[in-house]
Symmetry: C2
DNA sequence: CCGGATCCTATCGGATACTG
DNA sequence: CAGTATCCGATAGGATCCGG
């Protein structure tokens, strides 16, 4: 399973890596995606699911995720107005990366402790 | 290939994701790993391989990568002194993530352009 | 409930100069 | 060659308060 590192990464490849990094980096984006996936679709629910995130950050990050087409925001015109966030089909393409990050983070704990 | 997102990520999982993110984030770390993999083992070589990185940044990031056991620094006591950086076996466990990031970054270009 | 607006601080990272 | 040291601007992100 541990594939080897790419030995001949091109300059293009490096750009792609940076792009990806840019989209997922920051303290919260990945956690927000995970929280929505877990069934938290309302603003308050997401916030409750992620310890210590502030409304400012959640609001900001949700907007960026929307711009990157990873999250959809739907407004249902009831009263009081109901807003629902969901991950896009495209967002599922993150699956492999997230699973890898969980696996790797777990491993890393053991390694660095030594 | 596009695995689905994890539906039941635990709080533990979230911690692991944050840890991984912490290790790889920043503008340069991944590029430095790729550069070393491509056969650039000396400080100057790595710097040449990565456009616009400053000595300050390269120095700082290499130290962190060493602390995280992703890179090894060897000193050969010739004169002038020769220093060689290499990726650890452990670093290869990044393979899957990096490949995924390249793939995903490439895809993302197309999506966002639309 | 769903955020926006302000203010503040810490860290990130660039530029430049200098050292063994 | 392989870095260190300093200075500085930009940005990330926290705290708090406010409004529809």
């Amino acid at each position: 399973m541990p594939r080897t590192l790419p030995k001949h990464a091109t300059a293009e490849d490096m750009k792609y890596v940076q792009d990806t990094l840019y989209v997922i980096s920051g303290k919260w984006k990945m956690l927000i995606i995970l929280a929505i996936c877990a069934g938290n679709n309302r603003f308050k629910d997401i916030q409750r699911a992620i310890p210590r995130i502030t409304t400012r950050m959640l609001s900001k990050e949700l907007k960026e995720l929307e711009q990157n087409k990873l999250v959809t925001r739907r407004v249902y015109d009831e009263s009081p107005v109901l807003i629902e966030y969901s991950t896009t089909a495209y967002c599922k393409s993150f699956g492999a990366i997230i699973h890898e990050m969980i696996r790797w983070g777990k491993e890393h704990r053991k390694i660095v402790k030594k």
